[in-house]
């Protein structure tokens, strides 16, 4: 049995089920209690679970993550919420120098299984509140970095993260909380935090993306299908460990690849996927890989300017046409 619910409700269910089944799970972050969370994910939790388990913290991201890492070392299962990924930069020392290092640096004596929830996204919030940083964290060995798109992945990953033994960067997106999808009716529904998924099959071109980018890719694929262009859409889902083999396998069939991300292309996640695919499937590529990303500027406030910075369905369609036109086997030489 499955129900169709939103990403937000999938997260709420995952957190509630794990809190109900494991007393060690606590939530902590800025305004998650009395206020209900900036994106309303934890609304009502304070009344249900009390102040000991739903902790309104000072506005101190370094402290939130650092104390959560200590709690995890001490046998708890904290979910540390950083209001947006922009603010996670204040906690970078605890994420990269502490959480990611505990297990290896002390020779496997203990781990710090902290789950850091944070949200990417934008919406006329200007330069410091509109950034995309999943690649920064996916760079670091020792962290698991998930950036799910579907409600089922949000729920399954969150429950796995809270039952696993590694630190997890759980990156949400403020613009997809209301997206709907099917989620199994099962209190023990978990998903392994690895592996990309082919969400739509197609023969002409592969589009790899994740989070909100996945929805752009699906919308573009639908529109292109009406013209007879069949896109294979891959949801990357997990950025560390990253499953590039699934992308390469798809490229062996379609011979063309478009990578869609919301971050800046330079040194971005798309660059990594492109490099991995040319390593694994160089002979199968019939056109240069096309990378779609945001314009390399600090994000402006103005609505039209902001729209022009981020990729949308049309940018993805344009990229697909580019790789199809650049088919080297049919080029007019």
């Amino acid at each position: 049995m499955a129900r169709e619910i939103t990403v937000r409700d999938a997260l709420r269910e995952a957190l509630r089920e794990e809190m109900d089944s494991n007393e060690a799970v606590v939530l902590m972050g800025e305004d998650i209690g009395a206020y209900g969370g900036s994106f309303v994910v934890t609304a009502g939790f304070l009344d249900e679970y009390g102040r000991k388990r739903v902790i309104d913290t000072p506005i101190a991201e370094l402290g939130i993550v650092g104390s959560a890492v200590g709690m995890a070392m001490g046998g708890m299962r904290p979910v540390a919420e950083l209001m947006t990924i922009n603010f996670s930069l204040l906690a970078m020392d605890q994420i990269v120098n502490h959480a990611a290092k505990m297990y290896a640096m002390f020779n496997g004596q203990f781990t710090a299984p902290v789950v850091i929830r944070t949200a990417s996204g934008w919406g006329q919030l200007a330069a410091t509140h509109s950034q995309t940083f999943e690649g920064w964290y996916a760079h670091v060995p020792g962290l698991r970095v998930v950036m799910p798109a579907t409600p089922a992945d949000h729920k399954g990953f969150m429950k796995s993260a809270l039952r696993g033994n590694d630190p997890v960067m759980f990156i949400e997106h403020s613009l997809i909380y209301r997206n709907r999808g099917e989620v199994p009716d099962d209190d023990d529904f978990t998903l392994p935090m690895e592996g990309a998924e082919v969400r739509r099959e197609g023969e002409h071109v592969t589009i790899a993306s994740w989070s909100r980018g996945y929805y752009l890719a699906m919308a573009a694929a639908e529109e292109l299908a009406s013209e007879g262009i069949e896109c294979e859409v891959i949801d990357m889902r997990v950025l560390r460990p990253m499953d590039t083999a699934t992308v390469a396998e798809s490229v062996r069939k379609t011979n063309r690849l478009v990578v869609v991300e919301e971050g800046w292309k330079t040194l971005g996640v798309g660059s990594e996927i492109s490099a991995a695919v040319q390593e694994q499937a160089f002979d199968y590529l019939d056109a240069p890989i096309e990378r779609v990303g945001s314009l390399e500027v600090p994000v402006p406030y103005n609505r039209q300017m902001e729209r022009a910075v981020f990729p949308d369905k049309d940018t993805v369609i344009e990229a697909v046409r580019t790789v199809l036109a650049k088919d080297i086997n049919t080029a007019n030489v």
């Binding site: 650092g66 904290p78 640096m105 020779n107």
Partner: protein
């Protein structure tokens, strides 16, 4: 951890066995650090090496006051705490040699000693970062109703960083059993405290968080014991965190790479008069706790223990390169 017998030695807060054990630990740390300096100059120890010489009374006195279940986290000048907590001398030295038999298997080195089985959660080398971990461990102790106090040691330099203030505030607002143990040795690396801190008495910084604080003579091992005990009792009674400023001095440079151009020879000599080991030895003899030859025997045994530790470290193997990928993730990864 002190013995539980009620009897006390005249003029001291502890009985003879404990007093002599503290003397033994201080000698062991001193001998260990001297040997480290020597092994470093011979190229057996690499990287950064920060010696605890001159500050031994702080680790030894305060740890004697704790219970085994209490949590300990330290900065990177961490050999003294490891030895005071009873980590094997040979395995600590082997870690400095980078050997497989080291306490962290050659992965951590001098700055990252740890033994989770002793609730020693490690030496940390990002200044002030571990203070927040301590807050988290204290939260867990309270949440899980474990009656453990979490103690973090840090230098005066850490008190100027943001993490210090976030940790102090969180520990206070959540009323957690934390002892913030600041070792004020007057220098953050090579910069004198007056150039970088708006207040020179670190204990004053606790005022902003409404946290009880005291200054303690960090060269006096029994005072360290007594004052730490008071702070531990405060934390255990549910009254929240406590701040201790232990006044001390680092007899050696910041690390072995330090040319020490920032302080005068006279200043170092002046503080050497407050060497915690001779100070304690003289008191033990004066108060007739032990005779000189008894203390000499302890000193000699410490030297022998360290010699054996060096031999053990030297004879141990380097870690197997095949284990390089171990301990990156605790849960398996199946994708290629």
């Amino acid at each position: 951890m002190a013995s539980t017998k009620k009897s006390r030695t005249k003029g001291f807060p502890l009985e003879k066995d404990d007093l002599l054990d503290m003397y033994r630990q201080m000698c062991l740390i001193r001998e260990f650090e001297e040997a480290c300096a020597q092994q470093y100059s011979m190229g057996k120890i690499a990287g950064f090496l920060h010696l605890y010489i001159g500050e031994e009374a702080i680790a030894v006195g305060s740890i004697k006051a704790m219970e085994e279940r209490d949590h300990v986290l330290t900065h990177y000048r961490d050999h003294g705490y490891a030895l005071a907590l009873g980590l094997d001398t040979g395995e600590v030295m082997a870690e400095l040699f980078g050997k497989e038999t080291g306490v962290t298997g050659g992965r951590g080195g001098s700055m990252h000693l740890a033994d989770a089985s002793k609730n020693f959660w490690g030496g940390y080398a990002i200044v002030s970062g571990h203070l927040l971990l301590t807050v988290g461990l204290a939260y867990a102790s309270k949440y899980l109703d474990e009656d453990r106090v979490a103690v973090c040691y840090f230098g005066d330099g850490a008190t100027n960083a943001g993490a210090f203030h976030e940790a102090m505030n969180m520990a206070a607002v959540w009323n957690l059993p934390v002892i913030f143990m600041c070792e004020n040795n007057l220098y953050g690396m090579g910069t004198a405290v007056e150039h970088v801190s708006a207040v020179q008495e670190m204990a004053k910084k606790a005022l902003a968080y409404d946290m009880p604080a005291m200054q303690v003579d960090g060269q006096n091992v029994t005072e360290m014991y007594e004052k730490t005990k008071e702070a531990l009792d405060h934390c255990r009674s549910g009254k929240g965190p406590y701040f201790i400023e232990a006044l001390t001095y680092r007899f050696r440079g910041h690390s072995m790479a330090d040319p020490e151009q920032y302080r005068e020879r006279e200043e170092i000599d002046q503080y050497r008069a407050y060497d915690p080991i001779p100070l304690f030895r003289d008191r033990l003899i004066e108060e007739k706790v032990a005779k000189e030859d008894e203390l000499e025997k302890i000193q000699k045994a410490a030297r022998e223990e360290v010699e054996a530790a060096v031999k053990f470290a030297d004879e141990s193997k380097d870690p197997d390169l095949d284990t390089l990928g171990d301990f990156v993730y605790a849960d398996p990864i199946t994708i290629k």
